[in-house]
Amino acid sequence: MRIQYWLNGKMESDEILPGQMLYELLRKKGCYSVKCGCETTACGLCTVWLEEKPVLSCAVLAARIDRKHVMTLEGLQDEAQEFARYMGQEGSDQCGFCNPGFVMNVLAMARELDNPGEEEIKEYLAGNLCRCTGYISHMRALKRYLTEKGKGMRL
């Protein structure tokens, strides 16, 4: 079947298989930021935005994006770069494999929540697993990022 959709702001048209997952389509389209870590919708690595809402691309049929907007980290490079500096300063990038999915969710959170508290942040990002960092440094980076970005954070 043929679908039409916007990928990172550009109109695309592709022939897909009915059972094809969005994750596979995005990798085929060269969106290498999108990673797979579990195959059971448990790790958050494949997070992308569908109509500006974060979704797990391994659990969304490609057919579902017909006439919709999909955003991956490839389309958010400037914002990603900005947050990445805070993470990098904390050394919390580590192996980097879980980061793109995590950053997609962080950027969605920064749009959605105003002045979030620590528990709210943890809940929003709960689905993004990381095996290297133990998460503590993520929170240090997030606090500085949100505060300096003027989004504020309830401490």
């Binding site: 300063q89 990038d93 580590q94 192996c95 494999f97 980061n99 943890k122 133990g134 503590i136």
Partner: protein, 760 residues
Amino acid sequence: MREINRVVMKKDALQLMTGKPAYTEDLAPEGCLIVKALRSPHARAIVRHVDTKAALTVPGIECILTAEDVPKTRFTIAGQTYPELSPYDRLILDRQIRYVGDPVALVAGRDAACVDKAMRMIKVEYDIQEPLLDFRQAVDNPIVVHPEDDWNPRVPVGGDNRRNIIAQAEEDWGDVDTAFQKSDVVIDRIYHTKQVQQSMMETFRAYTYLDEFGRLVIVSSTQVPFHVRRIVATALEIPKSKIRVVKPRIGGGFGAKQTVVMECYPALITMRTGKRAYMAYTREEAMTVSSPRHEADVHVRLGASRDGIIQVISVESLWNGGAYGDHSPTTVTLSGHKSIPLYNRFSAFRFRYTAVYTNTIAAGAYRGYGATQGIFALESAVNELADRLHMDPGALRLQNIVQQGERMPAYFNETALSCNLGECLKRVQAMIGWEHVYPRHVLPDGKIRAAGLALAMQGSSISNVDVASATIKVNDDGFYTLSIGATDMGTGCDTILAQIAAECLNCSVDEIVTRGVDTDTSPYDSGSYASSTTYLTGMAVVKTCRSLIQKIKEKAALMLDCDDPSNLEFTGDAVTDPVSGRRVTRQDLGNAAMITNDIALEATETHYSPTSPPPYMAAAAVVDVDLETGHIDLVDYAAVVDCGTVINPALARVQTEGGLVQGIGMTLMENVQFDSLGRIQNNSFMQYRIPSRMDIGKIRVEFAPSYEPNGPFGAKSIGEIVINTPAPAIAEAVYQATGIRFTELPITAEKVYLGLKDKK
């Protein structure tokens, strides 16, 4: 000290964080054959017949290999230095099935869909045999896991395949029996830990192709590129000169990728078809046919005098190697060698161990490498001793721990040249507010708050074995390239080693380009494991810089008309002649080396260490336990680490936090359960829960550095030690809250609830 003990952002941070293609799968070219393994559902069986006729007719299928089609030389996939201590007990495909998941056939085709279809059409006839699943019954069991005549222990480590023994040894120092008789108190317990999974986010994967010279190229997510070259050459029976291994970015390893888990499969497909091949393990494969931590029973006996001096320590470890012996002979030794030497007042110690074969998943290397199991056992026993003697566990430890300058009979008679363990202990008790939380009090909501303590050690590289090298060259305009054979797996060694080079060469980190591993061009390095990279490769970098500075001075002497290069001064930016006052900049030197030149501005040095200096740490855990439900909340965890000089405080801190959380997962959540047929039940992140950010309370880390004279700028290791304290510290806190000693991990709410019910 401009670059040492300074936060420097990882050189690859921005690229990785913004999702640039950098990992094996991102780099694999279009058109690779997809390789998958058809696996046995039985724990023990003989493959009678594999019928591939129908499968071969599936459009797109290129190649199906079975046991008949593979080389017959046994090998080990443990990535260790030659001559390997792990027995050569594997074939790429074997007719004898030894655990659920052992591969029966390799299938390669155009895409995943056709390979999946073909795998469903392969008919395998098994002669199913009764498996040996209980490692406590393994020695001299009538079921022999490795009955083959060509079982090949390369180095004698006490193994005997007819008895299911991979390795066995014993070591006594002093009069152990008399010391126990003289002890006023004896603690005697067996501690059981399970086959926990490293669970790095990127599973095992590699792609392979033949290059323009007809050589086999393996691009692999590995911690040990040089060992991959040797192991694949042995397994495929091809010369090592025909193989090149390249390491791109690695999505985590934690020891899992110190085993060459799957590289042989796509490599063999490429050799047979001449085509590019790609194989990636699913998460289920990474959970069931990989190389987890060894399950262990560690039997600790501690003898002490009434005043709390530990007189004698006995550690006896029984190790479940599973179906193959990868890393068994070595991990098991750490259960004693890297636990007992925490203490040093005793007059005797005993360390005995046996590693056995069973028909379960073969274990391997996981951060901590056997020390983790040993330290859980020994530190739990020390906590129990303190309790028995009504002593504070911190005070008891302070009068028993090893002190700087002491010789350690339980650690190959090495001397602790750098040890700040006492300070770690005192600081961690202050950080956690020990007198307020230990042993326990009742909270307003009825929960019990309680605290526990533990110490840990590890080593820094394998003494007299591991080899590390570095090559540094000066380029146009004087920038440097640093080539290493050590593998950055997210740990940041590409940056840390550049910091060390920048310190030596008196330049900025940005002026050093680090190039990771390509076995054709990188200088030899054992690989990134055994807590060796900063300590050992770091020292190789220091030595290389010294040699390079000599070469730079030699070249400068020619340019400055100076007779004796040793009179010159290298300042980083330039070389100056104090006599004539003339100078030549590094930029000019770099460019001059590219015209009419016969001095290579390049140096390579290699390093090994006759000692393995232990890093030390102390940690304290505070838990809230709900006695109604058994639920454990880890509310506070404090750790103080002596890793010698801290090269990069941000990276050292995150290593520590990450290791602690892995240890917390092992202690409270991560469980591997087998059914009666030997199948692993916890085969995804749904059933095998690793900590999420919701599971983690407060974690605080501080450093109490000593100065290690054999390490670069005083540094020791940090990567592994940090996983070792959570199990004993949390187990003790839970004991203080509930009165129940948990000697088996994980300690789940269910176990606490049932334990409390039994107690009533």
